[in-house]
């Protein structure tokens, strides 16, 4: 971190505010936010189904949720390339598009919200829901007013971790993203490029910004965690 | 045999023990009795060496043990929640202390078998603690503590986590065990019935200080203050004095020293009758009478009677 200010604050600022750097950071930011939001919904639904529902193969599916954790990121890249690249069996050619980036990020962040919410759903006091029903609430209302508020801390925590992971993701996007500056170049790829072109200071500057963003998110997650704990009976 | 000398222990702001001194006689079974937060567990743990006092000394068998760690004090400790070694069998649990001391295998096996026989767990050697009931786990814990032939046996609310029936059975069993084995034993409990039932001597603690020490009878009949009196048995407040409800007598006519009261309610509980009275100052008072006495007095709500005590009132009212 100190190295990035080696050339003084001016160098830092010019490195960070170069149009390419800004573009890369912006892309990383908004794609990660989208992915975190999608995960918040899909992950919660998945956690719910895995805990409350029952069907053949549920145990296997439950185990597979952790697959993105276990797979090396570069392998994820190869996998997605096979799906949306030139040899795609379903005729999708999405390499070097933001869709490819979103797909990659969704894959690697899949487990975060699911695994964060699952134990909470598991521990939910069914009697709360039964009380709501006995008082006349429909399922949707019960879910919205009784269940969801209890899940929110876990959802936020998982979404936060999704975001932190997505914003720095490298291995899975480097193949499918196409790395077109200003269009599909993520911050992590930009940093890598700067290192390869022998500008480690410039790279460090952008890295610091990325680091700051991640840290802010982590601190926010921790605060949410404490807020959630205070509401525990 | 154990001497606690002016021990003080503080946890942050909270003073758990305040200048406590105590003597435990060899071979006795002493109960440390008191409400939650009275310091009794802390005192036991200080004797054990699991806590270090801020001030004062602990002398065991003539040696100053204050700075000696728990490992080398020669004490046996039994925890309220058993502290069983979950990944070891019953046999391995009981053998643990002997294995640590590198005793020969044959000796260990013999000792373990003997102890399991004493505690009634023979045949359970290969079970795991998870497969035992609470009472069985506690007996295993006792066997484990006794295996190392401790000079002192310390029990921290040993029956607190068990059902009432099991508690009563184990209580009687502990007393019999003590009579056979004669190890100096100190027991912590908040249950006065347990203390009275089991102990040779009782030490009553409150807010980090010893209120009174003595035999169960001494403490019941001659309590040193109102706290000890109300902790060890039922009390009724008669004017400025605390008395035992069964020491009260109701008469229809005024008597020397008796107070005037009005009958509020008469409850028939089979052989006994409880008369709920109201004293002149409005304070309620419940008196137990036999059916015969109640009939003789023809008690009815609204009657005026006189309540007095049959023996000297022991205590002026305490806080």
């Amino acid at each position: 971190m100190a190295r990035s200010t080696d050339g003084g604050l001016d160098t830092f600022w010019s490195a960070v505010s170069s149009r390419q750097a800004v573009s890369a950071l912006t892309l990383s930011l908004w794609t990660s936010l989208v992915v975190a939001a999608v995960n918040a919904v899909a992950g919660t639904a998945t956690a719910w189904v895995l805990v409350r529902d029952d069907f053949r193969g549920k145990a296997v599916l439950n185990a597979l949720i952790d697959l993105p954790f276990a797979l090396p990121t570069i392998v994820v890249g190869i996998i997605l390339l096979a799906l949306v690249g030139p040899t795609s069996p379903v005729g999708i050619h999405a390499v070097a598009t933001t869709w490819a980036i979103l797909l990659a990020l969704l894959f690697v962040t899949l487990p975060f919200v699911v695994r964060s919410v699952q134990p909470v759903v598991q521990e939910l006091d069914r009697e709360m829901e039964e009380a709501a029903t006995s008082l006349g609430a429909s399922s949707a209302t019960t879910f919205r007013r009784v269940v969801l508020p209890n899940l929110v801390p876990a959802i936020l925590s998982g979404a936060g971790m999704s975001f932190a992971r997505a914003v720095g993701e490298f291995g899975s996007v480097i193949l499918v993203a196409g790395n077109i500056p200003f269009h599909t170049q993520l911050a992590s790829v930009y940093i890598f490029g700067q290192v390869e072109s022998d500008d480690p200071i410039g790279a460090a500057a952008v890295a610091v910004v990325l680091l700051a963003i991640s840290l802010i998110v982590l601190v926010a997650i921790a605060s949410v965690g404490r807020w959630g704990a205070r509401h525990e009976r | 045999m154990i001497s606690v000398d002016a021990v003080t222990k503080q946890f942050g702001e909270f003073r758990a023990l305040d200048d406590v001194s105590l003597d435990v006689h060899e071979g006795s079974l002493t109960a440390l009795l008191g409400p939650s937060g009275s310091g009794k567990s802390t005192l036991l743990r200080v004797i054990a060496g699991l806590e270090l006092p801020d001030a004062g000394r602990v002398v065991i068998d003539g040696e100053d043990a204050t700075a000696v760690p728990a490992q080398r004090r020669g004490i046996g400790f039994v925890f309220q929640h058993y502290a069983a070694f979950k990944h070891m069998t019953v046999r391995e649990n009981v053998a643990f202390g002997l294995r640590i001391r590198k005793r020969p295998k044959a000796e260990v096996t013999a000792k373990v078998d003997e102890l399991l026989g004493i505690v009634g767990l023979q045949g359970y050697q290969s079970r795991y603690p998870a497969q035992l009931s609470g009472g069985q786990r506690q007996r295993m814990a006792l066997a484990r503590a006794l295996a190392i032939e401790p000079r002192v046996l310390l029990l921290d609310e040993p029956f607190g986590a068990l059902d009432a029936k099991v508690r009563a059975d184990l209580r009687a069993w502990l007393r019999r065990l003590h009579d056979e084995v004669h190890v100096t034993t100190v027991l912590v409990t908040h249950d006065q019935e347990e203390a009275m039932d089991v102990a040779d001597r009782i030490v009553v603690l409150n807010e980090g200080r010893i209120e009174q020490t003595g035999t169960p009878r001494e403490l019941y009949e001659r309590p040193a203050n109102g706290f000890v009196m109300s902790f060890l048995g039922p009390v009724a407040r008669l004017g400025e004095a605390l008395v035992r409800p069964h020491d009260l007598r109701v008469t229809a006519e005024p008597r020397e020293g008796a107070l005037e009261a009005m009958v509020d309610r008469v409850v028939h509980l089979g052989f006994e009758v409880r008369a709920e009275l109201q004293l002149a100052d409005g304070a309620p008072l419940a008196v137990q009478l036999t059916r015969d006495d109640a009939v003789a007095l023809e008690l009815a709500p609204g009657d005026i009677v006189w309540v007095g005590h049959t023996v000297e009132p022991v205590q002026p009212v305490a806080a």
Partner: protein, 263 residues
């Protein structure tokens, strides 16, 4: 909540569809593509000298990083749960850092510190060589054992250790005979996660390794290089190997999780 049958089925279908598209199809596809032309080309692709070297290098790095992180993890977990000192929050934050940092940033940091003109000058080469890659791998896989052992330690409490002390055990004896067996499944689970992460690391070692084929190329780097050289089949083959390792990891996780959670 007794949900309407149709709603329940609807949600289930949506979730299953999402998971199938995102998870199952891509993974299945890669295995299909890999073995499309039979096993032989795959076998050949993963037994080239470069591949074999990459395999052993990956293993070597893991064999250094994992035991170190395990010991560190257990010691740190004990300190965090049983110790009494200030700054626990700070230590916890530092441990969680690898989760927040992009692998590229981690590699960059190592580069700046240990590289040419960096802060630290050691007598042997760190960057573009094995020590750098080991350092990077250690850092990214640091938190797992700690995070898995801490809740287990909290759950079991320290009464058993106190009992052991009263029975005459020294702190070391108590740790070895009582604490360690009690936390072994937490450790095992943490080790599995650590190993998977160490083997699968790409971004940080990419920056730090210099990617000299046959010398500083791990399996993951091999996959990328083959791709860049348009050797798609070779890339698939190496990926499949890594995929098999990943599935073995998943299996181990699934088997260990219930044991770890039961206390």
């Amino acid at each position: 909540m007794n949900v309407d049958r149709r709603v329940r089925l609807g949600v289930r279908t949506l979730v299953l569809a999402y998971l199938t598209v995102l998870l199952l199809v891509p993974v299945g596809l890669v295995f299909y593509r890999t073995f499309e032309h039979g096993i032989t080309p795959v076998w050949q692709a993963i037994t080239t000298p470069a591949a074999v070297h990459a395999f052993w290098l990956t293993l070597e790095i893991a064999l250094i990083a994992v035991p170190l992180n395990t010991i560190f993890g257990v010691v740190t977990a004990l300190a965090l749960v049983r110790g009494r000192f200030r700054g626990k929050v700070a230590i916890d934050a530092v441990i969680s850092l690898p989760f927040a940092l992009s692998p590229v940033v981690i590699g960059l940091a190592l580069l700046l510190v240990y590289g040419r003109g960096g802060w630290v000058s050691l007598p042997f080469q760190v960057i573009f060589s094995l020590p750098g890659m080991v350092l990077a791998t250690i850092f990214v896989s640091l938190p797992f054992v700690v995070r898995e052992v801490v809740p287990v330690l909290r759950e079991i409490g320290d009464e058993s250790e106190q009992a052991a002390a009263t029975l005459g055990a020294t702190p070391w004896q108590a740790f070895w005979r009582i604490t360690l067996p009690a936390i072994r499944w937490g450790i095992a689970y943490g080790v599995v996660l650590t190993t998977a992460r160490a083997i699968g690391e790409f971004g940080a070692v990419s920056v730090v390794s210099g990617r000299i084929a046959g010398e500083t190329q791990t399996l993951t780097l091999l996959v990328e290089q083959r791709f860049q050289n348009f050797d798609l089949a070779g890339a698939y083959a190496a990926s499949a190997l890594l995929g098999v390792i990943a599935i073995a990891t998943l299996l181990a996780m699934t088997l260990l999780k219930p044991r770890k959670d039961q206390t």
